[in-house]
Amino acid sequence: MKRSVKILSFLALSVILFWSLSNSPQKNTHYDRHQLSKPFPTSHQELITPIPETLNLNIQKVHLGELLFHDKNLSHNNTLSCASCHNLQKGGGDGLAQPVTASLQKINLPHHTVFNSPTIFNVGFNFVQGWEGKTKTLEQQTAIPLFNPFEMGNKNWSSILNYLNQIPHYKQQFQNIYASTMSSEQVIDVISEFSRSLTTPNSPFDLYLKGQLNSLTHYELEGYQLFKNRGCISCHHGVNIGGNLFQKAGIFAPIHPQNEYSPQLFKVPTLRNIALTAPYFHDGSVDSLKEAINLMAKHQLKLELPADENKKILAFLQTLTGQYQNQPLSHE
């Protein structure tokens, strides 16, 4: 007994010694170049790229997020859900120039611009969030409406978490996903994850880009050509056809009336599903797309766009309406 213990301890000690000696760091570390030389996205044939049909998302989070997205109880007076302003049937916005709550409360503060509700579709492809790009991540943006007094109006997280903990289904789902007590981060995470799932692939133009050349008419293709030649594409490009840089609203002259609080730079908005997201611009001041196109030509190119060109561009823009859950988006 005693002897075996001694031998065992001796062996253990030898192993420790050997390991500690052999583990001493080497001066010449070998860099794994293979790991570092990941391929970066390279140039495409076109500046616009199609929306990917598959996304790498946690399906459990998406499902839970969907429930929360539609739950009015997340607002302080149980009147609003995320979906109230981001109607997935209305192109991901509310179809109003300004959010309904803001209009109801008649808020008009000179230093505070009330923005049009942007579409929530394809929001995951934006490089920053919000008209001004003040929120750098989707998660940051998700929290804002929950506590905005003009929106869902919560004072703090505890009221939200208390409510969620009361619902056994939620509690169970959170437990299944995170295996820990519910937290604000988890709530943000599931809603953000759901937001990322809101993509509209397979628009006719995307199908064209993916090689179905007959999905666009000649007329619409002429519109795409004008979209490029008239310089629209210099800001509206990438997978989201916009949403990847800041730009002045009006190069040659401001589009909107200016005051000392007016923002100088806006995040270039997406043109995806643009036909469905009227009214247009950050203040929802323009109702028709035709007018919006003319306005853009006037201010960005100092050009009175000829009517036929406008029509052609409009025709092209209408090909950008995609499918949500394999159903083409439409007005109602």
């Binding site: 007994m1 005693k2 002897r3 213990v5 001694k6 301890s9 001796f10 000690l13 420790i16 010694l17 500690s20 000696l21 001493s24 760091p25 001066k27 570390t29 860099y31 794994d32 170049r33 790991q35 570092l36 030389s37 970066f40 996205p41 390279t42 140039s43 495409h44 044939q45 076109e46 500046l47 616009i48 790229t49 490089f127 490029k228 030649n229 008239r230 310089g231 594409i233 210099s234 800001c235 490009h237 990438g238 997978v239 990847n244 840089l245 800041f246 730009q247 002045k248 190069i251 040659f252 730079l265 960005q300 190119l301 100092k302 050009l303 009175e304």
Partner: protein, 1033 residues
């Protein structure tokens, strides 16, 4: 488990040291663990990734992305990755612990933030620029078209201006330099100065102006970006990382050294502890071994003890001890040797390996040569156990060395077995194991030896007791001697008398019990005589003298009487014993004189007369064993006498006599030394050797030995004298030769030896050759003749009648064999019967005798059907296994009544193996055959045994009868005692060799039942016997 736990805690000091050292090592080792070292690879890979990303970002920007169909998505993605990577580094614990490193990282991040802002600016401005560039050709076209349509006078100039502006605008975008830019500005200014420009052209000019404004802006941003030198920051971070790492490494070197030192210390400590442990383990093992050895020894000792107590005799004891010693591999071999009177050690019991070798050993104990370097001799002389664990080495120089090596013996121990402080035997054990004899074994062996000694003493005590009892029975017989014995108590009242007393005085024991011996007073002696008598008894304890006493019938008799007092343990007189010898019958005095005449005055050795007497006796002894007679003459004794004087000569003779007396020859039974002449000695040896050649060889060996014995130097009158001897030897066995002839033969041999000695001046030995030769020749011839005698029917039987003294009738006949050779010569029985026995012919001849005698008896029975036929059985016949069966067959075949058959056996034959004899005799008795004891009185005459034998008849030897009528002989008393004794045992007595009437009368009065002898009839042939019986009737 509890026990082992407590054992574990018992050594808590060691454990504390080990655990403490381990903790120390682990503590120091923990110190060497630095997050930076662990994360170094990770950090390095991140740094590398940052570098790569940075490179990609700059490349993307400088590559005119939109122009090359590269959307800002790529750029955004790269920036995001850069940001994430930087943040993961920022969150790295290892970096946080190093402020310098953290600082460098912060620098890097700040620069990255600056870069990001610049990139955003780049994106905005670049896309504005790109917007105009996309539209520029179209704007130009629209503008020129509008001019062409407007038909203005300076159209051509304007067109040229517009064209120049367009080209510079495009060039400016491609390659920004101050000259071109100023040229573009000039063109634009020129165009702006034109008042009537169309809207379309104004748009073109506006775009041109935008190009000229934004191109430098974008270039400036590019320039700023490249000036941020983010690579340097990355490099700084990397350098700091390396320097921090090497700092830690240097520190760790010290820690590793400490760990190694402590580990070595711990290893050494554990090594020492383990060594101690192994050592104590070894000790435990050895202790266990010793204990098991002791147990084995203890068990063996127990066995030996039980063997000792259970052994019935010495031999069994020795054997049991040997067996015990070789059991359980205790010893390879064990033997016990007994010390013989000749001072040699002879194995008496042995067991184990090499038994056959041991059995042959004879170890002389008085030798001191190198051959006897062994433990036995040392043990014998020191009387102490001698143990050798290096036996082969000890015995290396001896002849035993090879044998010891062959058998692989490593150790040997010899232990003396003492009795009365004398070594009587030696216990010897051998082992093949190295260093086997430890103290335990020595104690064991000594204990064994002492146990044996005790057992031997017990045996000795038992034998002493037996002897004592025997003595008692002898005493009782002796008491019943022909001396009249009286025993009185201290008051002189008679308490016992013997038969001789009754015979002598006529008083029976009952008549004298309680009375005073004075009733025997003859009144012939004076009172003073008795007074002196008693005085002598009181003073000296004994009185001896001649005295006259009165018998019961009043007659007086002279007797030699001795009265002695017996003292009790306190020294007081308890009894008086009186022996009275009837002087009228005493020849003792005369014999005493004779005996005195038979001793040599000088040496006290027997003289020639006694030698002759003894030789005669030896010659007449039955048996065919050879005896040797040596005559020893001292060469040149006369010269010695003359030179040193007669007293010196006498001294030499005495010393030679003593030397001869100290001779110890174990091969012979009896050694008698005599001085038969002035310088002549003789030695006669009796042996058991029957083979003439062997005898001759033995005789020669002994002769040499004697000569060597006498060859030792004598110290005479302080001078050393060495003598030469001549020895003449003759061999003889009982025969017709007389002692004188024998001496003559020896003398002839001695004469030859002397003659030879004179020639060689050496000690010499000569044999009397002719005698040996002739004797052996005669014996061979005789044997050959005997072989044919039976088939040639040369044997005949004669019968001597036996007479009942009371009725005078013939009651039986004794069968006697006669050998008449074909040439008519009659050979006496004592000449051929020994030869018959020796050759084994006695068996068939014996059967023939029985058959023949029975045939004859059956003829006789027609006349006298009650006659018993008596046949002699020799020892060899009697010991024949088939005898009983053969006799039974003959009886069955002849239908002869067994009760009329009698076998005569001699007393000595029965005594050689009493138990076997009893068995045989009982078997005969069961058949109905009678047994007679022949030659009674010549041998042991043990009356005690007579009771045990189924004897029906006792034959009193002729020797007693011859002198029975002589009044001065003790024989009639013996005969009478025998007859009276046999009467009480209901055994018939028959007296042999009765030749005279007086003998017959005396025997009749003594109460003898039967007689046989010449007085009545000599042995008769069958025909004569028939006539004799018919006549007698």
């Amino acid at each position: 488990m509890n026990k082992s736990l407590s054992h574990l805690f018992a050594n808590y000091k060691q454990w504390i040291i080990i655990v403490a050292s381990l903790f120390l090592i682990l503590f120091v080792f923990q110190k060497t663990l630095n997050p930076l070292l662990e994360d170094r690879n990770n950090i390095l890979s991140h740094s590398f990734l940052i570098h790569e990303l940075q490179y990609s970002i700059l490349k993307t920007i400088s590559n005119n992305p939109l122009k090359n169909n590269q959307s800002f998505d790529t750029l955004n993605h790269q920036i995001l990755r850069l940001k994430k990577t930087l943040h993961s580094l920022k969150n790295n614990q290892a970096i946080q612990t190093f402020p310098k490193l953290s600082e460098k990282l912060n620098h890097l991040m700040n620069t990255a933030d600056q870069q990001k802002t610049l990139i955003e600016q780049f994106k905005t401005n670049y896309s504005v620029l790109q917007n105009s560039l996309y539209f520029y050709p179209t704007a130009f076209n629209i503008c020129t078209q509008s001019i062409t349509n407007s038909q203005q006078p300076n159209t051509k100039w304007l067109q040229k201006q517009l064209k120049n502006t367009f080209i510079s605008g495009l060039l400016n975008r491609q390659n920004v330099n101050t000259n071109q830019l100023s040229q573009l500005d000039k063109h634009i200014s020129t165009l702006e100065s034109q008042q009537n420009l169309s809207t379309e052209c104004q748009t073109f000019v506006a775009h041109s102006r935008l190009l000229s404004e934004y191109s430098p802006k974008v270039h400036k941003i590019n320039h700023q970006l490249s000036n941020l030198s983010i690579d340097d920051k990355i490099h700084n971070f990397y350098t700091q990382l390396e320097s921090s790492t090497s700092q830690i490494m240097t520190k760790n070197q010290t820690y590793y050294l400490i760990i190694v030192i402590f580990s070595v210390f711990l290893l050494i400590y554990i090594g020492i502890t383990l060594t101690r442990l192994f050592r104590s383990n070894q000790y435990l093992k050895e202790t266990l071994n010793t204990l098991s050895q002791r147990q084995t020894l203890f068990e063996s000792l127990l066995k030996a003890s039980s063997a000792i107590t259970q052994s019935k005799n010495k031999q069994a004891l020795y054997q049991n001890i040997c067996n015990t010693a070789t059991q359980k591999d205790l010893f390879e071999a064990c033997w016990i040797g007994e010390v013989t009177p000749q001072k040699t050690l002879i194995p008496v019991a042995c067991s184990g390996e090499g038994k056959h070798l041991i059995k042959k050993l004879v170890i002389p104990l008085n030798s001191s040569s190198i051959e006897h370097n062994g433990t036995i001799l040392e043990c014998y002389h020191k009387k102490k156990p001698v143990i050798s664990n290096h036996y082969p080495k000890r015995m290396a120089q001896t002849t035993w060395a090879n044998l010891i090596q062959k058998l692989g013996i490593q150790g040997n121990a010899s232990i003396p077995i003492l009795m009365n402080n004398q070594v009587v035997a030696v216990l010897i054990v051998y082992t093949r194991k190295n260093n086997y004899f430890t103290d335990e074994y020595c104690v064991f062996l000594e204990q064994l030896a002492s146990d044996i000694s005790i057992a031997l003493e017990r045996f000795y005590a038992i034998s002493e007791q037996e002897k004592y009892q025997q003595n008692l029975s002898i005493s009782s017989i002796a008491f019943e001697s022909h001396e009249a014995i009286l025993i009185t108590d201290n008051n002189a009242n008679i308490i016992r008398s013997n038969k001789a007393f009754t015979t002598l005085t006529g008083y029976s024991q009952q008549e004298v019990l309680g009375r005073s011996p004075s009733l025997l007073k003859s009144e012939l002696h004076t009172k003073s005589f008795y007074k002196d008598l008693w005085q002598s008894i009181f003073d000296t304890g004994i009185w001896q003298g001649e005295i006259w006493n009165r018998k019961k019938d009043g007659s007086l008799y002279p007797c030699r009487q001795s009265i002695s007092s017996v003292l009790d343990s306190k020294g007081n007189i308890s009894h008086y014993i009186s022996h009275a010898f009837d002087l009228t019958k005493d020849k003792q005095a005369q014999r005493e004189i004779n005996r005195l005449n038979w001793l040599d005055k000088l040496t006290n050795l027997p003289n020639r007369s006694l030698l002759i007497d003894r030789l005669t006796l030896a010659l007449s002894k039955p048996g065919r064993c050879y005896s040797f007679l040596y005559l020893i003459n001292i060469n040149r004794f006369k010269l010695f006498n003359e030179s040193l004087g007669h007293s010196a000569g006498d001294e030499l003779l005495i010393k030679i006599a003593r030397q001869l007396q100290s001779l110890n020859i174990k091969q012979v039974d009896n050694l008698e030394i005599s001085r038969i002449g002035n310088d002549e000695f003789s030695i006669s040896c009796l042996t058991k050797i029957k083979n003439i050649n062997k005898a001759h060889q033995q005789a020669e060996t002994i002769a040499n030995y004697i000569q060597a014995w006498l060859g030792r130097p004598f110290v005479i009158q302080e001078q050393t004298a060495i003598i030469d001897t001549s020895i003449g030897v003759t061999l003889f066995s009982p025969c017709n030769k007389t002692a004188e002839i024998l001496l003559q033969e020896a003398n002839i041999a001695l004469h030859n030896a002397k003659t030879l000695a004179k020639q060689t001046a050496q000690s010499t030995i000569q044999f009397y050759k002719q005698a040996i030769h002739e004797q052996s020749k005669n014996r061979l011839k005789l044997e050959n003749q005997l072989r044919t005698a039976l088939t040639n029917q040369e044997f005949t039987l004669q019968y001597q009648p036996q007479i009942n003294l009371i009725t005078g009738n013939i009651i039986g006949v004794e069968t006697l064999i006669r050998w008449q050779q074909n040439d008519g010569s009659l050979i006496p029985p004592n000449a051929f019967i020994p030869a018959l026995e020796e050759s084994g012919l006695i068996i068939p001849v014996g059967i023939w005798i029985i058959e023949e005698a029975i045939t004859q008896a059956q003829i006789l029975h027609k006349i006298r059907p009650d006659i018993t036929i008596s046949i002699n059985l020799s020892a060899i016949q009697f010991n024949d296994k088939n005898l009983i069966e053969n006799v039974h067959k003959i009886l069955k075949k002849s239908k002869y009544p067994a009760n009329l058959l009698e076998f005569e056996v001699t007393e000595s034959l029965l005594m050689s193996d009493i138990e076997e004899a009893i068995k045989k005799l009982n078997a005969f008795a069961d058949l109905g055959i009678k047994i007679a004891i022949d030659d009674f009185g010549t041998g042991y005459s043990s009356l005690a045994y007579l009771k045990r034998f189924p004897v029906s008849k006792l034959k009193i030897d002729k020797a007693f009868i011859d002198e029975i009528t002589h009044t001065d002989s003790s024989d009639p008393a013996i005969v009478l005692a025998t007859i009276q004794m046999t009467k009480t045992l209901k055994i018939t007595t028959i007296a042999e060799g009765v030749e005279e009437q007086s003998q017959l009368n005396l025997l009749k009065t003594m109460g003898c039942d039967e007689i046989q002898g010449y007085f009545f009839s000599k042995p008769l042939s069958p025909d004569d016997l028939t006539h004799f019986i018919q006549a007698h009737q």
